[in-house]
């Protein structure tokens, strides 16, 4: 068995044998599905009182994905904890004694996270979609189907967005080594940066807003490119986010290889 596969299997076992990861996954799925369902139920009930403009921009898919608001932070916490809990407990020393090739270890951890988040996100995003659309059942309420154009793209890119967020948190975790610091940075990037950006003069804002991870995510989830501020197309946004994650991971893995621990 190749070195990578061995370490991958060891890391997979490690992920599945701590309670916090299982709780994280469950909470992630419950919040994502639950909140999406809640928003769809409310929208369904309130549809008749919506304004003309509101009805025009009614996006049934986006409403069923409302739980991603929580899911994105859950993905971040899962990704961060996967490595920072090892630094916090000192278990990283045991891990490195067993797997001293650090780039392989980094790649194996990233691969485990990819698989886990892919499976969990695929499940929660698809269930969110099905449950949400089923709840949008009032007379005249727009409702999406798997066969509608672009719906599969929205589903796939939303899943990808969650996987990329987890990998981002993992890479930050390898750099900062502390759970609190890692999650803080993650929250700042996802929540605070867009707020600051919106306060900037409109010329700067319009040039930069679309590059923020949160905007890329919104574009990846959206059915159309129209949004409050200009964003890239869904596929271009996905490409840019992938590039971010590749660069961040490369820097993080390189420093992990260089630094003492």
């Amino acid at each position: 068995m190749s070195g990578f596969l061995r370490i991958f299997r060891a890391e997979f076992r490690k992920f599945l044998t701590v309670r916090s990861s299982i709780i994280g996954i469950t909470v992630n799925a419950a919040l994502t599905i639950g909140f999406g369902a809640l928003i769809c139920a409310v929208m369904n009930q309130q549809y008749t009182s919506l304004s003309y403009q509101e009805r025009l921009t009614f996006e049934p898919v986006i409403f069923s994905f409302a739980g991603i608001l929580f899911g994105q932070f859950a993905a971040g916490v899962i990704g961060a904890q996967f490595i920072t809990s090892e630094f916090a407990t000192g278990a990283i020393h045991t891990t490195l004694a067993a797997s001293p090739r650090r780039l392989t270890l980094f790649a194996a951890k990233a691969a485990v996270l990819k698989v886990v988040l892919l499976v969990v996100s695929a499940m929660s995003v698809i269930v969110s979609f099905v449950v949400g659309q089923a709840l949008l059942n009032g007379p005249g309420v727009p409702r999406a189907h798997f066969s509608d154009p672009g719906v599969w793209r929205q589903i796939i890119l939303t899943i990808l967005y969650l996987v990329l967020l987890g990998l981002t948190a993992l890479a930050i975790g390898f750099l900062l080594r502390q759970t609190a610091a890692t999650i803080s940075v993650f929250v700042v990037v996802l929540l605070v940066l867009p707020i600051i950006d919106v306060l900037l003069p409109s010329s700067i804002r319009d040039a930069t807003f679309k590059y923020l991870p949160s905007s890329l995510g919104r574009a990846m989830m959206s059915g159309e490119t129209a949004y409050i501020y200009p964003v890239f197309s869904p596929w271009a946004s996905a490409g840019i986010f992938v590039a971010y994650v590749v660069v961040l991971s490369a820097v993080s893995a390189y420093l992990f290889q260089r630094r003492d621990t």
């Binding site: 068995m1 070195g3 061995r6 370490i7 299997r9 060891a10 890391e11 076992r13 490690k14 044998t17 701590v18 309670r19 916090s20 809990s85 090892e86 407990t89 000192g90 278990a91 990283i92 020393h93 045991t94 490195l96 004694a97 067993a98 797997s99 001293p100 090739r101 650090r102 260089r258 003492d260 621990t261």
Partner: protein, 308 residues
């Protein structure tokens, strides 16, 4: 075999280890001794590839640890018993290590049995007492049946029963032909366990040798009691004997008891006691490392002063 060659590790401008060279051979327990802060843990971390040396090298059977394909089959190490994820059971912990090193699941059960943790193997490691954690750490160290073992202060926090168990365990590992390196800051702990000693202070090698070699280097003291104390002092001054007084007794260094006896006889000086005692390994260790301990003390004071 572990080979440490001209190893230097600096943290900032301070050298934790400087130009350290030694090797650890199979078949014996080697005691790695030095006062607190002398660089024992740092050296072991470099050997395990956890920290990078500033210069010099540490190799396992000729290769750096980071290049080993199945490291746990060559070296087993216990540096920190608490370096385990508290949420994972002992069995899962060992199984993940086994998977990473292509070791069979059956071997996991075996080592759990050897260290006596079979009954609690499915409990979370975070609930373990220090003694149980040490045993889990030892189980991980011997998991790959390695030819080299390394333990950092393994005796710390063990009860007398545990200490005896671990002593016999180290001896049996060495008897099986393995190289065993055990660190401690107390010679009293090591003098019964180890056969060879590597003594460091301030990150530098102070003395290396077998128990017998060190015993030879230990000082011999001659104890003398006599009713004519003033006469004896005069003779001692004339003969250039270095002595100190301990109550009624004169304690002499760098002289043989036979010389003292003959000269006393020549002066017709009655002696009530003439005896020899060699200092213990512990005394030797204290003497050898006295300078480095003092240095560390001063460093701490200086640092405290700077913080104020």
């Amino acid at each position: 075999m572990i080979t440490v060659s001209h190893l230097t590790k600096r943290f900032g401008d301070r050298a934790a280890v400087s130009d350290l060279t030694f090797s650890v051979n199979p078949g014996v327990v080697t005691g790695f001794l030095g006062p607190n802060g002398s660089g024992k843990s740092t050296t072991m971390r470099v050997i395990l590839g956890l920290i990078r040396p500033t210069s010099g090298s540490a190799t396992i059977n000729g290769r750096p640890y980071r290049e080993l394909e199945f490291p746990m089959r060559e070296v087993g190490a216990l540096l920190d018993a608490k370096a385990v994820h508290p949420g994972r059971s002992a069995r899962h912990h060992l199984k993940s290590l086994a998977t990473a090193n292509a070791i069979s699941a059956q071997r996991v059960d075996e080592v759990l049995d050897i260290v006596g943790l079979t009954d609690v193997a499915d409990q979370r490691a975070g609930k373990f007492s220090l003694g149980m954690s040490q045993r889990l750490g030892i189980a991980a160290a011997i998991l790959g049946d390695p030819g080299i073992l390394m333990f950092d202060e393994p005796i710390n926090g063990l009860d007398p029963e545990g200490i005896r168990w671990i002593r016999e365990f180290f001896q049996s590992l060495a008897d099986e032909g393995r190289a065993v390196l055990v660190s401690s800051h107390l010679m009293s702990e090591m003098s019964l366990v180890a056969e060879r000693f590597i003594i460091i202070g301030r990150g530098q090698l102070i003395r290396e040798g077998s128990r017998d070699e060190l015993a030879k280097a230990s000082d011999q003291f001659v104890f003398v009691r006599t009713p004519h104390r003033e006469t004896f002092k005069e003779i001692a001054a004339r003969e250039n004997w270095a002595y100190r007084e301990e109550g009624e007794t004169f304690v002499l260094e760098h002289v043989f008891a036979s010389e003292v006896g003959e000269i006393a006889f020549a002066h017709q000086l009655p002696l009530h006691e003439l005896s020899t005692k060699s200092s213990s390994l512990e005394d030797l260790f204290m003497k050898l490392t006295a300078d480095s301990v003092e240095y560390v003390g001063k460093q701490r004071e200086r640092r405290k002063g700077a913080n104020r």
